[in-house]
Amino acid sequence: MIPAILDTPAPHERTLRRLSDLLVRRHNLLVLILLVPPLLWLGMVYLGSLFVFLAQSIFSIDEFSGTIVREPTLATLAELFRPANFDILMRTVSIAAAVTVLCAIIGFPMAYYAARYAGPRAKAAFYLAVMMPLWSSYLVKIYGWKLLLAKEGAIGWIAGRLGLGPALEAWLALPLVGGPSLSVSYTGMVLVFTYLWLPFMILPMHAALERVPSSLIEAAGDLGASPGRTFRTIILPLALPGVVAGAIFTFSLTLGDYIVPQIIGTSALVLGQAVYTLQGTAGNIPLSAAFSLVPILVMALFLTLAKKMGAFDAL
């Protein structure tokens, strides 16, 4: 008997087989089928509604009736530059920048250790340690920090025991960063944000550092670069895409948050709180849309600067 060359399907299998044959032959069709649902979701439900919302920023609100005037105007956007509003923006961007810098400084050594020196077990422990805080409730963590930061809290107590009480007092007496206690100061707010977003900085940094082959570091040393020099000229530039990716997270998460400032912060508003009150209590959708534009513009500016600095050259 001659063995069958063509594997002909049984009748009941035919439709499914034809379909899979078709998809194998025309893989563009498969790609299309796979992409349509996410594109619909991302394109229409997410981006579409975002743009509809942001577009409101060219409308204005009638001062007396509180209704939205649907005529294009730049007046709402210009309102952002009013001292009270501009203060909110500057304050928020400064806090976000401080949080990002602090996350990068604290996160880099950890990411570097895990990428270069940790063995498989230490690496597993590292991932667990970095991810674990993400598994517990955000609110619980913030209230936990409020207790730590309070005047009679653990941080104050430890500072006192170490004889650093006066230094803490002196810091809190400073304008802007200080306050009656850490739990109602910008310093406290930055500390809590740093704690919350640190994993989002460490993980991309770690991924970037892990992709730097050790032979590059050896080559730099071989060519006469001291460890410090190697770090500045080779390791840091190659890790920069990871730092930037992490900064995108820490920066935008801080820009949008309105809960931490409410629990830890001072009475002065930040951007997230402004959007929250404007669209809720005040019903001023145009101005809240205008405020919402700011983080997007800030991130665009940040990425442009990062690109100019050559952060993506190695990609």
């Binding site: 590059l216 730099a220 006469g224 670069a225």
Partner: protein, 348 residues
């Protein structure tokens, strides 16, 4: 250039005295003594895991010895980090910096030495011209082919004028044609620069064709050092005989049966001659009748594996045109001169 007797008296470029490097229970390098002369092309040949790369890394300073001493031009270098050593490395994966242009890669060593921009650009251009990559300064490493990256790595290592250049399997990733071309170029470059090149490879052909001297590594030790002809013609052990080229390894009794001294011996396949039927044996040769077990055609030569009635299996390489009536299962007559057998120190 060949190392002659006079140069043996000068200070060696690299000297190992009882050097050992262990990784846990693994003895990567286990008591190595060697001297590499100034201006010498020195090949470290061995299978993977034989300790040759670790020896190179010990010279570069990426590894520190657990025992023994390493000297570079008479200066003890234990504890000296790589950036304080006058040796440079061409890495197996080239290790080009992906975020820097080709020109900046080549100039990197000058940059860390504080050489000004204009001067280092000029020298980088010259170094690139030396490796035939003129005009490639502004490219990125990712835009180059494997062979071009290899040349950039070479230029980058040579620009800082090392006293010894270390090459870690630099041709391993290239295809055959390019590899042969680069072998000639490397050899030429070494001759013009008069530098010591230490070349790590697992390719015996590469080691034999390029090196002034070859060190054969096995299990963390050097089994034999010498000029290529010596290592090939007079292998000291079975390992060398089989790793450098191929060889028939004969026991003392088998060697004696072929008229040689009763010592374990090696016999290169090309030293076995094929005799046509009815021809008389050349003087000083033993004639062996055998049955062909296998024949394989290899272009210039044909390899014939045959078994004598006494049970000795020999591999012979005969010029392909000469092997007329050769087929599996057929008879064959070999002639072996007894002085073609090379006594070895051990059969192991």
């Amino acid at each position: 250039m060949h190392a002659n007797i006079d140069t043996a008296l000068e200070i060696p470029a690299v000297r190992f005295a009882g050097v050992a490097r262990h990784f846990g229970a693994v003895k990567a390098v286990d008591g190595v003594d060697l001297s590499i002369l100034p201006g010498e092309f020195f090949a470290m040949l061995g299978p993977s895991g034989s300790g040759k790369t670790t020896c190179l890394r010990l010279i570069a300073g990426f590894e520190q010895p657990d025992a023994g001493h390493i000297e570079i031009f008479g200066e003890k270098v234990e504890g000296l980090p790589p950036y304080r050593r006058a040796v440079n490395t061409v890495f197996q994966d080239y290790a080009l910096f992906p975020h820097l242009s080709v020109g900046d890669n080549v100039a990197y060593g000058l940059r860390v030495r504080g050489v000004g921009r204009a001067e280092r650009d000029k020298q980088a251009r010259e170094a690139l011209a030396m490796v035939k990559l003129t005009g490639m300064e502004s490219r990125r490493p990712a835009q180059l082919s494997g062979g071009q990256r290899q040349r950039v790595a070479l230029a980058r290592a040579l620009i800082v004028r090392p006293k010894v250049l270390l090459l870690d399997e630099p041709l391993g990733a290239l295809d055959l044609k390019l590899r042969e071309e680069m072998q000639l170029e490397l050899k030429g470059l070494q001759r013009t620069l008069g530098l010591s090149f230490v070349f790590v490879t697992h390719d015996q052909g590469e080691a034999l064709s390029m090196a002034d001297r070859v060190a054969v590594f096995n299990e963390g030790r050097i089994v034999q050092v010498g000029p290529p002809e010596e290592v090939y013609e007079r292998p000291r052990t079975r390992f060398v005989a089989n790793f450098v080229g191929s060889a028939n390894v004969l026991s003392a009794a088998e060697a004696q049966a072929l008229g040689a001294p009763a010592r374990p011996s090696s016999l290169r396949p090309e030293k076995i001659a094929l005799m046509s039927a009815g021809a008389s044996a050349p003087t000083g040769a033993v004639v062996l009748d055998a049955v062909i077990v296998d024949v394989s055609y290899q272009g210039p030569v044909r390899r014939i594996t045959a078994r004598t009635p006494a049970g000795l299996v020999l591999v012979a390489a005969v010029p392909a045109g000469q092997a007329g009536e050769i087929k599996r299962g057929g008879p064959v007559r070999f002639a072996v001169r007894s002085d073609a057998l090379q006594p070895m120190e051990s059969e192991e």
